[in-house]
């Protein structure tokens, strides 16, 4: 999903308190904002929830690209509702991160200057309308797979925002699949367009789960703290297993010759994505990294006077009210 390669922060707290904290987590208790927590737990969560929030916000851009060009009014209203949901999801998550002592503006600034990341998937372009189908079906599908277990994460505000998000997100995947169903029933050209979207999105979607477990160095502490609930490869396998029959239903071919059912494991074998490409995209060298940050920077800069003016207006109104009351 939306949090990849979250570096666990080392923690230098009193061993006694750390042990008590771990016992609370092991007992399934939720940690709330005012509770004592190790510094590493707090920092890792800020990084993870922040990256998740940024992904929701930046994730509006590739889909926003097609709102004005949706093929029918109904598709347009559906897509608009989905993109609006993503804004809401970003807000829930920013608020959850803020309970850990970081401000909204700080997080935005860290996104803009590259100190914080967002999911690699949003650095790929959406070239045709079929991409709206593939994004909903695969990208939201992968996101849900990661977010459902996070409803049980140890940090209360994060878990609660995940519950809301999961409730809303299943519509996203369905609307994407619905677009794909219409495309594959259309003309030959439309069917080709659907296949092309799947071809381009498949491996980037697999990358959403983060690097292979053997290269995933930050997992064990996060899993002990229940910030991360499953390993990257577990979730990726689950995604492949669930998606293959859906592709079959659509009559589309997943672009992987090695994708085969394995009787022994009870799972599909599949080819791992090109991890060099993944690390390049994370480093900022994907096809759309520069565009995405430029768009966010522009919105931030051009919205500054609106944010200031609204605050000034509210203060003026408060002043007038106080004066009125005094007289």
């Amino acid at each position: 999903m939306y949090a990849q390669m979250i570096k666990s922060e080392a923690t230098e707290d009193d061993p006694q308190r750390l042990a008590e904290f771990q016992a609370r987590i092991d007992a399934g208790e939720k940690i709330e904002p005012k509770d004592w927590m190790p510094e590493g737990y707090r920092k890792t969560l800020i990084r993870q929830i922040g990256q998740h929030a940024h992904s929701e916000i930046v994730g509006q851009l590739p889909e926003g690209n097609w709102i004005t060009r949706a093929p029918t009014l109904e598709r347009k209203t559906n897509l608009l509702a989905k993109v609006q949901d993503e804004a809401g999801h970003g807000l829930y998550l920013y608020c959850a991160a803020e309970t850990l002592g970081v401000s909204r503006d700080e997080m935005t600034e860290m996104l803009l200057d590259g100190r914080m990341k967002y999911s690699s998937i949003f650095n790929y372009p959406t070239l045709t309308w079929a991409d709206m189908g593939a994004v909903g079906w695969l990208v939201d599908g992968a996101a849900i797979m990661n977010q459902v277990p996070l409803q049980r994460t140890s940090y209360g505000p994060y878990a609660r925002s995940m519950v809301r998000i999961c409730k809303e997100e299943s519509f996203h995947q369905r609307q994407g699949f619905h677009i794909m169903m219409a495309m594959v029933k259309g003309t030959e050209a439309q069917k080709r367009m659907a296949q092309d979207a799947l071809n381009r999105m498949w491996f980037p979607a697999l990358m959403m789960f983060g690097p292979s477990d053997k290269d995933s160095v930050h997992s064990s502490q996060s899993m002990a703290w229940k910030i991360k609930m499953n390993t990257n490869d577990e979730l990726r396998q689950k995604f492949v297993d669930e998606t293959k029959p859906q592709a079959d239903y659509l009559g589309l071919t997943i672009p992987d010759e090695n994708l085969k059912w394995n009787e022994e494991t009870g799972h599909y074998d599949y080819t791992e994505p090109d991890w060099n490409e993944f690390f390049e995209v994370i480093k900022g060298n994907g096809p759309c990294n520069a565009d995405r940050i430029e768009a966010r920077q522009k919105a931030w800069n051009e919205g500054a006077w609106v944010r200031d003016a609204m605050m000034a207006h509210a203060e003026k109104k408060r002043g007038a009210k106080a004066n009125g009351a005094a007289q």
């Binding site: 709330e32 005012k34 509770d35 004592w36 509702a81 609006q84 949901d85 809401g88 807000l91 829930y92 608020c95 803020e98 401000s103 909204r104 503006d105 609660r160 925002s161 809301r164 809303e168 500054a304 944010r307 200031d308 609204m310 605050m311 207006h313 509210a314 109104k317 408060r318």
Partner: protein, 94 residues
């Protein structure tokens, strides 16, 4: 330069007859603005019939470290529950 909008806690009455329940928070310039934003952020799917907004810094909350002294005294007062009192069956429903 820019000052961040204050944080508001949002409470929503899900349906008639229920209490308002905390659903989350958001930033807004004033109470009226907070209600408008809460409508967009927290009631996109008919989740509510009424909204309360409270500026987060105006809320006073108990401290987690007081958990023991605050709540433990209630633990041994089992006579506050109806099941403490045995009433013979022949008395009927009570």
């Amino acid at each position: 330069m820019s000052k961040e909008w204050p944080l508001w806690e949002i409470f929503i009455r899900g349906q008639h007859g229920m209490s308002h329940r905390h659903v989350g928070s958001l930033h807004a310039t004033d109470a009226e603005h907070a209600i408008k934003n809460a409508r967009d952020v927290y009631t996109r799917r008919n989740e509510g019939v009424s909204i309360w907004v409270v500026e987060a810094e105006k809320i006073t909350s108990s401290s987690p470290s007081d958990k023991g002294p605050m709540y433990d005294p209630a633990r041994d007062k089992i006579y506050r529950h109806p099941s403490f009192y045995d009433i013979p069956d022949e008395v009927g429903k009570m």
